[in-house]
Symmetry: none
Subunit: 194 residues, 4 copies
DNA sequence: TATGAATGAGATTTCATTCAT
DNA sequence: AATGAATGAAATCTCATTCAT
């Protein structure tokens, strides 16, 4: 069963949700069709199990976001959090990708994907409200930033970004910090010492 | 043929690339399977035609981005440009969504999708370089911001965002302006001069 | 489509409902699986179509039963009607057999089969009531006689009866006539002339 | 093993021979697939064992049919015998039903089912010959009456007959008596002497 | 040009049966 | 004796594509 889940991750990663064949999965897991249907009632069922695993890890990560604070300390902790987001995306990105795909036309998956995103957004919204940046709607800004995190990591995973991993995390942390605190709160704060 | 293309947009929007059936498209277009294959050699071919249309419009939009300038004037023109991006997404978002889906496991589509994104990123990269913000890698920042534009509009289109359209555009413009110029260059800067 | 229905009759006859394979039917009809599913959504659907045809013919036959009258004339017309019942059974017996089989565990078919039987029983009940035989419950007697008609023809079709067709019809008519009118009304009435 | 046989009766009753799954049987018997194949070599084998049990009881019942005699006494003993037939059908009807189904396309079962019916028919044939009714072919009449017994009980078991059990037995006995002896020999004859 | 019935390759799914424990 | 996870052959069903009209 673990083998089937693992094979699922790999096949969904390579072919996407729809193009993935049950046959591909069982071949990779070195089992039979019969065994597949012993544990899962169909492809969607296996995917749901995978998605639930991811969803759990995502929830944990979302809740670990601490308060946003200006200056280098805040930048540092934000950097650390985004870095963990990127780690998770590395591991489960293929599933998340397939998820996005499966969402279309499936309310079931739409809700699941939505839940995860909403969780991230909710936490970030609270942190933005606490930081009380001028002129920034906390909810929409949180959505925009979560969208940015997710999509840039997606691009990176898909090999469409020619950049080192830490450069990507740096940039995401910097844009976020600046969006919330303006230049004064971001890493370039030292400039104010000039 | 126009009817087939239009039906294609609708069906791909509703079901995604893989789940869309030729039968759905011809039924919606009120023609026959025979006619479909008269104009397109297969499902992929119709999709490519659709994608090319979108790509053209996207290219035109990308190139219309003017220099990034600090202060209210820059904010204003950025707002206007992002607004047009959102308009385009409203019209072609479904195709772009399906596109992303078809990309997985298809180098053909991967290249197409990549091209469009690269075009946007290239123009924005140049504009960021010209604005020369400290500590911001122009290429990665451009990618991050394009990712944010794309994904937030995607969420909005999918009905996952409870916000007015102009609020979304406002937020995207503000985050972008601040990312490039810091708080001093954003729209709220003038307020400090009051 | 006609070919599929005809092939269906033959395959259901040979193998019964459950053992019949869609593959058997399409091979016999010299078409493809695709064609089968173009006209019918599954095996049950084709069977339903067949059953509806039979049901219609049965209804017509049921309603053609005239009043039961004692003596040779009544015996004659009853004989004629049972003979037509046997003809119908010859033609559609295989479907009726499969029907009986499909009934088990399927309310759908149960109802259909029941309908046909009920129709026969209703008509015969009315005729028995009109003949007003002493001590015979018209409804139950009608059911018993219909059961006998059906089952004996079934046995005959299954090759379990070594008897000429007219001998079978004779016996059924005689038993029916006697059940309703006693010996006095049946074909042996002439005995009373002795 | 007894549990498997009992579970078999229930499952075959509910689903019929073909639709019954070994899994249904072992689940109901609260054992495992392994155990099933320890006692029976396959589904057919279990069914054959069940059928043999039924066949034995049927044989015993068939042989207990005494001579057919006219008048109330004959009517009485016939009534009693048919009543025992109905009892047996109550207990084993489901198996007999499944049997009939399995017969189609299976010579093995065909022979078994045929044997049971033939036994009944043979005994009844002898009794009819002894009663020597005019104009009635003993063999065919016996078949017709056995068909009636079987099928009406089947209908009753399937819940398609709205009648008390003794009304059904009454009617079957009456029709049989009249078929053999005419009205003069049936139970209502004595009434005319009053 | 336009049609749509027909196709069949390939996918999904079921379930009787086996076998290592 | 008993188990039940694993199997795979055989069934069902789908849908992109063709082709005679």
């Amino acid at each position: 069963m673990r083998q089937l889940l693992d094979a699922g991750v790999e096949v969904f990663a390579a072919k996407g949700y729809f193009a993935a064949r049950v046959d591909d999965i069982v071949k990779l897991a070195k089992t039979s069709h019969g065994t597949f249907y012993l544990y899962f009632s169909n492809k969607e069922d296996l995917f749901r199990a995978l998605a639930a695993e991811v969803s759990d890890e995502m929830q944990t990560l979302a809740e670990s976001l601490g308060p946003l604070v200006p200056g280098p300390a805040g930048q540092e902790s934000l950097h650390e959090w985004i870095s963990r987001f990127a780690d998770l995306y590395d591991r489960f990105g293929p599933v998340i990708r397939a998820w996005t795909e499966a969402e279309i036309g499936s309310h079931e998956f739409g809700r699941l994907g939505n839940d995860v995103m909403v969780r991230f957004t909710r936490v970030l919204t609270i942190r933005i409200e606490q930081a009380a940046p001028p002129d920034l709607d906390p909810t929409i800004a949180a959505l925009a930033l979560v969208a940015m995190f997710e999509r840039l990591n997606y691009y990176a995973l898909a090999g469409q970004v020619r950049a080192r991993r830490d450069e990507i995390v740096d940039t995401l942390a910097l844009v976020t910090q600046r969006a919330v605190f303006g230049a004064g709160g971001a890493a370039d704060a030292p400039r104010s010492l000039r």
